[in-house]
Symmetry: C2
DNA sequence: GCACTTTGGCAACAGCGTTGCGAAAGTAGG
DNA sequence: CCTACTTTCGCAACGCTGTTGCCAAAGTGC
């Protein structure tokens, strides 16, 4: 909350979001009122009131009972996934992916199309808007008012490469496409569609998607994406860390070789340049080692729990990259005399829809109490 | 708050802490009820109630009036600094510093002594406990119950070098002094003194001290300390970032030269090794450049506002280091096509008491709503 | 001196989670 | 099948929060 005062309305929505989040995490199995009370620290009676409200509003429902432990059996509650939906858009250099997900994050409908991100901004905007409207129309139906008529639609999340201003929804630039410099994507698309729009970097969306899916299994992790470039999404304490100017996660141009080879960004010895050069030479092991050095720096600096790897290059040989990065992390941890578990490294098992699904989570996260992360 | 439910008690203490924080930030100038209302988003009437409680408890007081703007002039409120005190202890390899500060963070009394951190843990503990008791006794007076009798004393914060577990208050190791491995400093000292004790790394304490003093002028900054070693304290969004295992801030052993010279930690190409080697060769400019590369990595990764430099080596030639780091940051920002202000670099103007004062803030921060940061 | 503006407290209020108690819905034993 | 017991969960009363409506206090400006 930062410097904001808390009033009773804030308490209500905070607790409601907390309960909704626990309901989601419980999945199909459901969760009882008493478990909710234990997890939140609230009294059972308060949980009953909160869940009663949620049931009235259609967000929660009863779903059977547990076995009795000698008395009245616990009633199990679950999230009603159809109570809310969000659209996730992944804009890549040559491809457009749109997904419609429900409150559970499950993909209800999707669409893929070729795209030329180098075309005029207005034209691209039109293609995106059309795709979104068609997808939502087919899956949920539209009222006379267009998307705003689809009652359960919370909004549209858009993820794309390149630096941008998340809080204002303005693109800084999209590498190689000067057309987009300074384009106010959020407001332009929001006006066109008539629903809330949120914009974020693709790596942040991916990290958010992983944090929700439970795949990360951690509240603090780094997602490193190695594809045509190298970027990172940081999740710290369950929230995507974007930094003061929402530009955090510039991992590719971390310098790890003083006065090393020139990178196209103008610096020398960037991880990205070294890593991609090794890949180009057909030495994935060396690429993994370089990536590992960067990852180890990050782990030491922020003390995170898990490192997740993803992207096309990693997907080609996941084992090599996971092992390579792991080796560097383990060696450094041992030298530092670390106690406890080593920091695990995994490759993301989610497919090519990860970024689009994460983009949709940009709108679902606030519902479940993850602030604006 | 994380996953904790909010009840009315939580709301009260949250809002009270918020108001106290604003009162502190206003300093001697004070702040009016209406300004407090604007800053917190609460209604003026709520602020009146909250400040009435704080005045009853002795934490706040009226302090004159502002000039009228056409009506009843605003009453100015201020913090009552004497309402609370905290002790800050800085344990260094050869020195012990103890300060007693009031709610404003102003040093009320202090003490300095030689210390051999290599001595037996129990012996060191005794020296520390005695120094704290004497200092507090002289300044505040002790009851029959020792420190616990000094009514306004919130507790003792201890800062020292080396990795440790902040949440449990256990030292991992103190470089060069195996005696301390695994020593439960917080509980041992807490039992001895009979008041709450909090333990943290010296760099974290320094960063906390800077964030409170307003010197940082930012809610997200990095404090880089270059002395006998090189370490960092990170403040993100107004809170000290400690990470999952409270080991964050390992800046000195960030690798910035792949397969570079061997560092005493066993890695190759650490910033610390490169930086200190340059200092040893009498090339502070090169040391600053190396430090700048590490700082630029950190700034890009986390997107922080300000970089603050400190420590004996920096204090020797502050201009050289500030300029050297600044040059690297500026050059990289320009290449990245950054817009807006460049990230400023400053050297800390606080003296040798910075760490001890920051250690005291470990206990004051919760009073002003900074969670446990 | 009068009209006006602004501040800030008093009292009534709505809404939050909490507490006390009882109904509902099971199990275990005769 | 009935009784005794345990556990779950909702209703009603409660205490406390910040909010709202109203009015007194304390200035300025004509």
């Amino acid at each position: 909350m930062g410097t904001a005062g808390a009033n009773l309305g804030a308490v209500r929505s905070h607790n409601a979001a907390l309960v909704l989040g626990l309901l989601r995490d419980a999945g199909a199995e459901g969760i009882s009122r008493l478990e909710l009370a234990e997890r939140t620290g609230l009294t059972p009676q308060a949980v009953s009131k909160i869940t009663a409200r949620l049931r009235e509003e259609g967000y929660a429902a009863e779903a059977g009972r547990r076995a009795s432990t000698g008395g009245k059996p616990r009633t199990v509650l679950r999230l009603v996934p159809e109570a809310g939906h969000a659209v996730g858009v992944h804009l890549d250099r040559d491809e457009l992916r749109v997904v419609l997900v429900d409150l559970d994050g499950a993909v209800v409908a999707q669409r893929r199309a070729e795209l030329d991100l180098g075309a005029r901004a207005e034209a691209v905007l039109g293609v995106v808007a059309e795709a979104v409207e068609e997808l939502v129309g087919e899956a949920l139906g539209l009222g006379d008012e267009g998307l705003a008529g689809a009652g359960t639609l919370l909004g549209v999340g858009v993820a794309l490469p390149g630096p941008l201003d998340h809080s204002r929804g303005v693109l800084h630039r999209v590498t190689g496409f000067p057309e987009w410099d300074g384009f106010p994507l959020r407001d332009a698309l929001g006006e066109r569609l008539g629903v809330p729009v949120v914009v974020d970097k693709d790596t942040n969306a991916a990290a958010l998607g992983l944090s929700v899916g439970g795949e990360a299994g951690s509240r603090s992790f780094a997602y490193l994406h190695l594809g045509t470039g190298l970027g990172a999404g940081l999740v710290i304490g369950g929230r995507v860390h974007r930094g003061a100017r929402t530009g955090a996660g510039e991992f590719g141009h971390q310098v790890i070789q003083l006065d090393g080879p020139l990178c196209e960004c103008g610096n020398r010895g960037c991880v990205e340049a070294l890593c991609l050069a090794a890949v180009g030479r057909g030495e994935p092991g060396e690429a993994a080692r370089v990536l590992g050095v960067g990852a180890a720096n990050l782990v030491a600096l922020l003390d995170i729990d898990v490192v997740l790897l993803g992207g096309r290059t990693v997907a080609g040989e996941p084992g090599v990259f996971v092992r390579g990065v792991e080796d560097v992390l383990d060696a450094r941890a041992r030298r530092a005399g670390a106690r406890g578990e080593p920091v695990p490294v995994r490759s993301s098992t989610r497919g090519e829809r990860l970024v689009a699904e994460g983009a949709a989570q940009l709108l679902l996260a606030p519902v479940f109490g993850r602030g604006d992360a």
